[in-house]
Amino acid sequence: MAQVVPIDVVEGGRRKKTSQIRKYAPLLIMMIPGLLYLLINNYLPMAGIIIAFKKINFAKGIFGSDWIGFDNFTYLFKTSDAYIITRNTILYNVFFITVGTVLALATAILLNEIRKKLLLRTYQAIITLPHLISMVIVSYLVYAMLGAESGFINRTVLPWFGIEDGIMFYSEAKYWPVILSIISFWKSTGFSSIVYFAALMGISEEYYEAARMDGASRLQQIFKITLPILMPVIIMLTLLSVGRIFYSDFGLFYQVPLNAGPLFNTTATIDTYVFNGLLGSGDLGMTAAAGLYQSIVGFVLIIIANYSVRLYNKDNALF
C-alpha cells in the first residue's frame, strides 16, 4: 500500500518524526546539562587549538593575535625537548603496557587460586589500595623512602650494604626510569588485576574439570584455558592503553619526581612539558603546539589500533 502512495509516506514520516521529538522531549531535556557541559569542557577548547598556530600576544587577545602558521611546531621540533619528551612518553608507555599487563594477569591468576573467601577479599583490598591514593601522597611516600637527608633507603637500607654516603635521588636522572616503573606497577597492578579477575570468574568450572580428566596440569590449564579465554579482555585493555600512548600519568611524572630540573632527561613527558609551559616556564604557543601534537597523534593511534583489531576480530574492537 505504502508503495502506491509514496508522497503520503514521506509526509507522514515527517509528521511522525516531529511528533516523535515532541513526545520524547523530556528525554532530550534530561540530556541538556550534560551536553552543555561537554560543549564547554570538551568542544570549546577544540576551537582553542588555533592558538597553536598563533603568536600569542595578550595585549591583542587570543583571537586578535597574529597567525604564524606552523612556526610554533617548527620551533618545538628544533629543540631537543621534542625528542626527549616524545621518546620518554613512548618508551615508558610501551614498558608500562607490556610489563603491566603481564603483572596484572599474573596477579589475577594468583587471586583465582585462592579458595578462602575472606583471605581473597583481604588480598584484593590491600593490593587495590595504592590505586586510591593521590599522587601527592605518593610523592610523600617516595620522599620518605628516597629523601637525601632522612630517607629510608639512604639512612637504613644502603648502610646495610656498606654505602654510607647515600644517593642524591632527586638530582640523578639515571635512577628514575626504575623508580617511576616501580611506582607505576605498585600503584596500578592490583587495580588492573581485578578487571582480569572479574573475567576469570566468568569461566565455567566445567572447562577445568574436562581438562583435568584429560590429565592437564594446573599450569597447562592456565595456558590452554585461562589465557585464551581472557584474550578479548587483554586485547581491549591493551587497545585502550595503546590509544593513550601519547599521554602519560601526569601525576606520576610531574609530582613524584617533584618536577626537579636535573631529572628532565628521564622524567619529562609531553604532559609535564605542557603543564610546565602553562605554569610559566615555557612559550604558550609552542606548548599548545605540543598539546595539539599529542592530541592528533593520540587520535590517529587509537584509530589505527582499533582498525587493526577490527581486522583481526570484529568483536574485540572498541568501535
Binding site: T107, G190, A198, V274, S295
Partner: protein, 294 residues
C-alpha cells in the same frame, strides 16, 4: 576441590602476601614518621617503627591547624558537591542514550564518544576557563573541570541502563500514567544503585585526590584543598633544597618539620584509608561492571 593445586595454592598465598606487604609498608612508614620525634627523624631517618615516639606533630596540627581545617573543608565541600552534580548530570545524560526511542540518540552518542578520542588539550581548556568563564581562584575551578571528565562512565551507565532495566518495566510504568521524569526517578534510579555507587565512588575519589586543577587555577591559599596544601609544602621543600645553603637554612625554619609534613599526609589520606573497608565491596563490583564492554 583441585587436588593437584596444592603447590600452586601455597605459591599463590606467598606471592600475594608479599605483594600485600609491598602495598602496605609505605603507609606504615608514613604513619610511623608522623609519630616519631622530630630529632629522632633527623638523627636516624624515617623508619617503620618510631624510635622515639611522639604525638608532637599531631599536637602541632591541633593547635595551629587553621590552614589544614580550612583545606579539609574545601576538600570535603568539593568532593560532596562535585560528586553530587557529576553523578546527576552523567546519569541524566546516560539514561536517554540507553532508551531506544530517544530521537537523534546515535548522533548524541557519537558526540559523547568523540570526547574520549580527541581533546583540545590543557592550554586551550585553561584559556576557555580563565578568559571566557573567569573561574580562576574560585571554588568552581575545583569542581567544574572534573564534572564529567571520563566519557567512559557515560558509556558504562548507558550499558547498565540498557541491559539491566527491562523495557517492559518502563512501558508499564508509562501505561500507568508515569511521565518520563517520574519513570526515571521512581522506577529506573532505585534499581540502578550498583552503577550509581560505582560512578559515585570513582568520582568521589577523583575529587578528593585532585591536585592538578588546584595547581592550575588556584593561587589564593584561601581555596587550597588538602591535596594542594600538601603539594605546596612539597614544592617548598624542593625549592629550598635547590637554594644556596645559607638562605636555605633560614627558609627551612619556616617549613613544617618532617613529622608534621608526614602527619598532614596521613590526615590527607585518612578519609580514604578509613572509608575504604566499607566501600570495598562496591568498589570491586564497580571495577567488574567496568570490565563489561561499554
Amino acid at each position: 576441590m583441585r587436588q593437584d593445586g596444592r603447590g600452586i595454592a601455597i605459591f599463590s598465598h606467598v606471592s600475594l602476601l608479599l605483594f600485600s606487604l609491598v602495598c602496605i609498608l609505605p603507609f606504615v612508614l608514613l604513619i610511623s614518621a608522623s609519630l616519631t620525634d622530630q630529632n629522632s627523624i633527623i638523627a636516624d631517618g624515617y623508619s617503620f617503627f618510631p624510635k622515639v615516639f611522639s604525638w608532637a606533630a599531631y599536637d602541632y596540627l591541633m593547635d595551629r591547624g587553621t590552614d589544614i581545617v580550612r583545606a579539609y573543608g574545601v576538600s570535603i565541600f568539593v568532593t560532596v558537591f562535585g560528586t553530587a552534580i557529576g553523578l546527576a548530570i552523567s546519569t541524566l545524560l546516560a539514561y536517554p542514550l540507553a532508551r531506544k526511542v530517544t530521537p537523534h540518540r546515535n548522533l548524541i552518542m557519537f558526540l559523547v564518544f568523540f570526547t574520549m578520542l580527541f581533546n583540545g588539550g590543557l592550554i586551550p581548556s585553561y584559556l576557555v576557563y580563565t578568559q571566557l568563564f573567569d573561574i580562576k581562584n574560585t571554588i568552581w575551578a575545583l569542581i567544574f573541570p572534573g564534572l564529567l571528565t571520563n566519557g567512559y562512565y557515560i558509556l558504562l551507565a548507558r550499558t547498565f541502563f540498557a541491559t539491566t532495566v527491562p523495557t517492559e518495566m518502563i512501558e508499564s510504568a508509562q501505561i500507568d500514567g508515569a511521565g518520563e521524569y517520574r519513570t526515571f526517578w521512581s522506577i529506573v534510579l532505585p534499581i540502578s544503585t550498583p552503577i550509581l555507587a560505582t560512578i559515585g565512588l570513582f568520582t568521589c575519589i577523583m575529587y578528593w585526590n585532585d591536585w592538578a586543577n588546584g595547581m592550575v587555577y588556584i593561587t589564593n591559599p584561601h581555596y587550597f584543598s588538602i591535596q594542594n596544601l600538601l603539594n605546596r609544602i612539597m614544592q617548598d621543600i624542593q625549592f629550598i633544597t635547590t637554594m644556596d645553603s645559607s638562605r636555605a637554612s633560614d627558609a627551612m625554619k619556616q617549613l613544617p618539620s618532617d613529622s608534621v609534613k608526614m602527619a598532614i599526609a596521613v590526615i590527607g589520606s585518612l578519609p580514604i584509608l578509613v572509608a575504604y573497608p566499607f566501600f570495598q565491596k562496591h568498589f570491586v563490583k564497580g571495577i567488574m561492571i567496568g570490565a563489561v564492554k561499554g
